[in-house]
């Protein structure tokens, strides 16, 4: 029988869970845990400069690897600083466990120093949270936390650990449970065969079908099945911002991504379709535009692990609750066995129509002889990294340009805060990826507004030698805010101009990194090459881009999917 203190049990449980890295920041209520961490070397701790960054690091790792990330912070401000990160992970269904210190159980409720009701504060933005009430519960709680975080529709789980649960000289028997079973939590393991058959019949009878795939395909590790089904059927496919990489962007059947800043052809194809197969997507308002005008002629099949995502905003005709990989596998089998084949003439006419849309617009922007366009920076990065880099972004115009012009052929490489739209996400997320995939190129595409929301992490990058490449598309403004002000507020640029920008080059150098400024078009390619050649250096590329560029296409507010601005002057 092995006797361990609560703190040692906690760290041992992380070891037994197979956790290699945790990201965090120490403080009073977590000190017993940090001491236990010090006395072993299997679980490695990365010290960030702000707790929010620890969560985004864990999140970046989780998105790249498909495995849960882990965070350790103290009570009070340590815990509350994680909230934005937790909410970010929650909105995008990212598996994560956040371990928070708490004041001793005897002090809870007395407004003790650094006391916050973290269970209460985090409740709306977690999949679940758990509180330790007896030290001997710790192994089971940890096992449960990872189980809940990573099964079903994944999400963040917070564990609140009062300091007296980790007291060093109180030892208990350590038993790490092999299996967790919860009577109240049983995620679906397969879809309903009758529903799947009904869906397949509809799919094969469709004349203008489209597949609409979301982040659930990547989270559910179903990209192979999705690709096989799409190719077997020969149908057009589009995906959401979160679904980027779930189907190769370079493939002919791929129409690009859809929604507010999606491609003309994917939005047009959605609007005019007669059948939508939605896979692991949630009909978000940034996709559907006005729901009452959404795809008027389409019947909808919706596959999702989360029943609450089905018919939440748009009514599904055939709901299928289940893991996307299992459901798609069953679908592929039925499609292959079916006597009925898709109507070749109808499909041909549909593709002809789609190709016309592609020819009409496609993705394009006006180039300039003297100003650097943000889009061309992304296209060049795509070329110089062979489309194989991990790309994290912050939030705003640069995020949309990156999503539009860096064509991903693989899942888990596009890493952005889609649901919550968290500025400050990009750098720490890139760090989490680089730490775990040191051989791969990791780009953080950002803007001068976003990067300043977690710029202190340049220090963490020095400490742990994390040579990410920061691509700062500097337009000296909060570009997306400014774009909306141009479009909806007669160009009254209320608080969207950034005065007093730091000298990013000197700032990068102050942290021990390399800074390169690019403000002439002819320097763009040589300097990007120079930066990418510095494999072991963090390079901060401060690139001065067109200050007046807008992101297009852009859906017209409160319109249908087909109502779009294609440039500052063209509206369809």
């Amino acid at each position: 029988m092995e006797l361990l203190s609560g703190a040692d049990m906690l760290i041992r449980s992380l070891q037994d869970e197979g956790i290699e890295y945790i990201y965090g920041y120490p403080g009073g209520a977590a000190l017993h845990i940090y001491d236990a961490l010090f006395r072993q070397d299997k679980v490695k701790h990365i010290l960030v400069r702000h707790e929010q960054a620890a969560v985004h690091m864990a999140d970046g790792y989780a998105r790249a690897s498909g495995k849960p990330g882990t965070v350790l912070v103290t009570s009070g401000p340590g815990a509350t600083n994680t909230i934005t990160g937790i909410a970010t992970a929650f909105m995008d269904s990212i598996p994560m466990v956040v371990l928070c210190g708490q004041v001793a159980s005897t002090l809870i409720g007395e407004d003790a120093f650094q006391e916050t009701d973290m269970i209460g504060v985090s409740r709306p933005v977690v999949k679940h949270n758990l509180s330790v009430r007896h030290p001997e519960e710790i192994p089971e709680i940890i096992r449960k936390a990872y189980y809940i975080a990573s099964t079903g529709r994944p999400g963040p789980v917070v564990v609140d650990i009062p300091k007296d649960m980790t007291t060093p000289n109180e030892r208990y028997e350590y038993v790490f449970p092999k299996k967790i079973k919860l009577r109240s939590y049983n995620p679906a393991v397969r879809g309903h065969t009758g529903q799947i058959r009904k869906a397949v019949d509809m799919l094969l009878a469709a004349r203008r079908p489209i597949i609409y795939a979301g982040g659930g395909v990547i989270l559910g590790k179903a990209t192979e099945q999705l690709t096989e089904l799409t190719r077997t059927l020969g149908y057009p496919i589009t995906n959401t911002l979160m679904g980027i990489g779930c189907y190769p962007a370079s493939d002919e059947q791929h129409l690009g991504w859809l929604g507010m800043h999606g491609t003309y052809e994917s939005n047009m194809a959605m609007h005019h379709s007669d059948l939508i197969l939605a896979v692991g997507a949630r009909f978000d308002d940034r996709v559907t535009n006005a729901t009452e005008k959404f795809c008027p002629g389409a019947r909808i099949i919706h596959i999702d692990i989360d029943p609450a995502s089905i018919s939440k905003t748009v009514e599904a005709d055939v709901p299928i609750v289940g893991p996307v990989d299992a459901v798609l596998r069953e679908m592929i089998g039925m499609v292959k066995e079916a006597k009925q084949k898709p109507d070749a003439d109808a499909l041909k006419a549909w593709w002809k129509q789609i190709d016309d849309w592609r020819a009409f617009h496609g993705m394009r922007y006006e180039t300039s002889d003297d100003v650097i366009k943000p889009q061309e920076v992304i296209e060049m990065l795509h070329r110089l990294t062979n489309g194989e880099a991990y790309v994290t972004t912050d939030v705003g115009q640069h995020q949309m340009f990156a999503a539009q012009y860096y064509k991903f052929d693989r899942p888990n490489r596009w890493i952005n805060s889609g649901g919550l739209g968290t500025m400050g996400f990009g750098l720490p997320a890139a760090m989490g990826v680089k730490l775990n995939y040191p051989e791969d190129e990791v780009l953080c595409i950002t803007g001068e507004g976003s990067i300043q929301m977690n710029i202190q992490e340049l220090s963490t990058c020095s400490q742990y030698d994390l040579p990410v490449k920061i691509i700062n598309l500097n337009n000296q403004a909060l570009g997306m805010v400014k774009q909306w002000q141009d479009m909806n507020y007669e160009s009254r640029h209320s608080q969207s101009y950034m005065e007093s920008l730091p000298d990013f080059i000197k700032l990068a150098e102050a942290y021990g990194h390399v800074g390169i400024r690019i403000d002439r078009k002819e320097d763009l390619e040589p300097k990007l090459r120079e930066a990418l050649a510095m494999k072991d250096k963090l390079v901060f590329l401060d690139i001065y881009v067109d200050r007046f560029e807008h992101v297009y296409p852009m859906q017209v507010a409160r319109g249908s999917m087909k109502d779009m601005w294609l440039s500052k002057t063209e509206r369809v």
Binding site: H128, I148, S184, S311
Partner: protein, 163 residues
Amino acid sequence: MRRIISVLLENEPGALSRVVGLFSQRNYNIETLTVAPTEDETLSRLTVTTTGSDKVIEQITKQLNKLIEVVKLVDLTEGAHIERELMLVKLKASGAQRAEIKRTVDIFRGQIVDVTSTVYTVQLAGNSDKLDAFIQAVGTTGVLEVVRSGVSGIARGEKVLSL
């Protein structure tokens, strides 16, 4: 439309706050809420009455089901069911009023459970409409205090909500 949703919940600290929190986070109504442990002390039974369109009610039940601590739930209003609410009312009762109130209490099959020279405390059980009707019948001017338990409900017949 008014619905009665009955929930079996793990009897754990914080479970109730998750249910209540869900309603406010997602902008759903709670009209009444009752909760107490069941014969199995690891489980609580919670009854919530709410209003909303079919679509909203469907979301409420799905979102409730997603809560890790919710074991099972049923929308009682989908089938035949019995609903009861308990009310305790303090009424001004002096002089000639006393006999009149007593008669009204009898008509509603309530009981006077406490008496002073000027006050009757009445206990009444029934569906919510009946309790409303009683208040109306005695007239609000005589009412000193009202306590209502909120609705409890159970399905008719052999259907049970259990593990």
